[in-house]
Each structure stands twice: as structure tokens, then as C-alpha cells.
Symmetry: C2
Subunit: 224 residues, 2 copies
């Protein structure tokens, strides 16, 4: 179950991964953190620029105890990660929304979700093999099986691509599941209460305009 150098089953709890409230919804269990990360491919990456926060959506992949993101070498945050010798402080958050929770009272409305928050330093990946591995992982994390079923990046494309690594060291997972937690005195109110589930659903693949007619849709798409 563990693939960390330390072999620990949990990530250490630190001041900034200890919530100020709802601590019962938080966990540092490595398997739980990895499960939430592996169930997604879109993260929100935050960094600080001129003293102010910036948060942008981007794709990612987890490999062991590392997260990888990529982008153009022309993108500012990725350039900045490369400039800082010690790494650029970042926060990476992955959120899955599972349901809207409707309580009798407006106050107890909530959402069911699973969310991982990673605090760490972003480092440019310069090792050629690690870069190739990370780029494959990012494609395969969104579309399992696709990396081997596409043309790999050529040297010019690789030179235009920045790959950034964030170690999973200071990490927590927070989640909520189940129905509303209403006040006992509200239960007689006439309003419906419960959960409206929500999940991402994939539609029918749309062929590119320039795709040769008759090209079969790969199994990794039809299975979705």
C-alpha cells in the first residue's frame, strides 16, 4: 500500500494541514489521499505573484508521492517555478463534487465532496526520462491508455513544454458524505430534505473534422 521512501501509511499532520474546524472530516491517510487524486485529472494550482494569490486550473498526474503538472514554457507560473532555486511555494487542490445536501434549514445545507489539498514547493523537472514519464502520466491520468496510442512529443515539442513536480509531503484529504444533519426541532418542517447526487458523465466521442472516416473509436473511450 505504501510507496513512500518512509513507508508511512499516513502523511504527517502539520499546522497548515490541520483544519481550524470540521476536523472530523479530515484525514492524512495516504491511500485515501491517493484515491482522491487518482479519481481526477483537473486541479487548481495556486501560487503567489507580487504578494497576491493566483489560482489557475490545470491537468495533473500523481506518480508515487509526486504530483506533476505541465504547461507551455511561455506560461508565467511555470517559468517562475523554474527561476526559484528552492522551488516555488504552491498549493494544489483537487475537488470532486458528489452531491448537493438539502437540509430543512438553509444553515445546514452542504455539499458532499472529496478534496485533497497539497502544500509544497514546485520544482522544474529537468531530467529527460522523468519529463517523458510525467507527460505520459498526465495524458494517461485523463485518458487511461492514450499515451501509447498517440504520437509522442518530438524534441521541439518537448523543448516548448515545462514539467513541474510537487512532492506529496504536506497533504490532507477532506470529505463529506451522507444526508443532511438537521436540528431535531426542524424535522417537522414541510421541506424536502436529502441529497441530490452529481457526477461527471462522459458523452459520445465526437470525431475531429479531419479524422479519416472509419477510424475506430478506441476502447478506452467507449468504456467510459
Amino acid at each position: 500500500m505504501t510507496d513512500s521512501p518512509s513507508g508511512a501509511d499516513t502523511y504527517p499532520r502539520t499546522p497548515r494541514t490541520t483544519g481550524s474546524r470540521a476536523r472530523d472530516r479530515m484525514s492524512y491517510d495516504r491511500a485515501s489521499v491517493h484515491a482522491v487524486l487518482d479519481d481526477g485529472y483537473l486541479c487548481h494550482l495556486a501560487f503567489v505573484r507580487d504578494g497576491a494569490p493566483v489560482v489557475l486550473p490545470t491537468l495533473y498526474a500523481r506518480v508515487g508521492d509526486r504530483l506533476y503538472v505541465h504547461g507551455s514554457t511561455g506560461s508565467r507560473p511555470l517559468r517562475e517555478a523554474g527561476r526559484e532555486d528552492g522551488g516555488m511555494p504552491v498549493c494544489v487542490t483537487v475537488t470532486h463534487l458528489d452531491g448537493l445536501v438539502l437540509a430543512k434549514s438553509a444553515f445546514h445545507h452542504s455539499v458532499n465532496y472529496r478534496s485533497v489539498v497539497v502544500h509544497g514547493l514546485a520544482h522544474q523537472v529537468t531530467d529527460h526520462q522523468e519529463r517523458l514519464m510525467a507527460l505520459d502520466a498526465i495524458v494517461d491520468n485523463a485518458i487511461p491508455g492514450r499515451a501509447a496510442d498517440s504520437r509522442r512529443a518530438d524534441p521541439k515539442e518537448l523543448a516548448a513544454t515545462a514539467v513541474v513536480r510537487v512532492g506529496l509531503e504536506e497533504v490532507s484529504v477532506k470529505s463529506r458524505a451522507g444526508g443532511p444533519n438537521d436540528e431535531p426541532e426542524d424535522l417537522g418542517l414541510p421541506y424536502w430534505s436529502g441529497v441530490l447526487p452529481v457526477s461527471p458523465v462522459y458523452g459520445t466521442p465526437i470525431p475531429a473534422d479531419d479524422l479519416a472516416p472509419g477510424t475506430p473509436v478506441p476502447g478506452y473511450l467507449t468504456a467510459r
Copy 2:
């Protein structure tokens, strides 16, 4: 179409809302920004703590040229927004993922999305009427019609709830749609190319364990 004091149809472009690349995907059109914001209810809110970025998921609502988020008065970021006289610098990002774009080459893989990034200062809302309005708006933004069909917050609940406002002043929308942009020399490769659409889908409402049998499911849920 405009409800801003200035009546402008676009938000001003500033250094930090001007992308370093892919500028053709960016817009400052107010109607486009509002459409993306109004199509969602989950944002990622970033702030700076001890010099490092933090990004957390939370619910929001747009009312005119203001975004509102809420939380427990015990939550750190909301407390901190209240402590800063001039407001706490934040970045709020809302992202809708619309599809996975599969190109012949790994390099040209992409995603179709719509994303709004708001830079600004978060201020605690202290006016009683504005607080009530914002809380209703947050519930109704996630579940239209629900605020009036639930028990409103009582004074004790209101005292435990922090409401924070961020003005829409420095805002941009970025989006991508359509099929892959492959290199002409790749078009003969045998790989399938196109778009796998993705969207959030709502399931059958699940009644709370303590809901009185026979309570009808409201129309605003069955319509979803």
C-alpha cells in the same frame, strides 16, 4: 445587459488579467464572465497565509458585480478577511470542464473548458440585509428556488456565519471549444482524434433518513 456602476460592457484589462500566452482564448466581456460564473456554484478560493498560497473549494454566488462566499466564523480565511481593514487579497477561480480533446500527437492534447479568474480583495459583509441576501443567493445559485423553500437562518446561526464579498473588477474569462488542432503532417497517423464531452449530471434525489415518508420531491430538483 450591464448592471455595473460604470455601465461598461467589458472589464478593464490589467497586467494580471492579461495572459502570458493563448490570449485569443481570453475575454473581458462582462456577459461572458457572468455566464460562466452563473453556470457554476463551486469555486476555488485562493489566499496567502504566511507567504504561501492556500486554495480551498467553496460555494459562491454572483449578484451584479459582486461575488459572495460564506463559511463558519471559525474558519481561518474568513476570519482573516475580517481582520484586514483594506480587505484580504484573494483569487477566485471557477472552472467548467466541457471535454477532453484527443489529438494525433500527445503534445496537442487539450481540454475544452470555460474558466473565470477573479482577482480582488475579500471584505467581510457586516450589513444585515446584504448578509441575508447573499446567503439566499448562495443557496439559490446551487439549487434555484431552494432559499424560499427552507427555514431561513435564525439569529444564532447568522452569528456563526461569515459572509465575504469580492468585487468583480479585475476579471477575465478563458475558454477553449472545438476539436483538436493537429499538425498537418500528423493527420495520416492511425490514432483516433476528436473530443470526449464531459458534463456534470444529477442523479435521482435521495431522501434523508429522517424525512417524513410521502414528502414530495420539489420541482426544482426533478427538473435537473
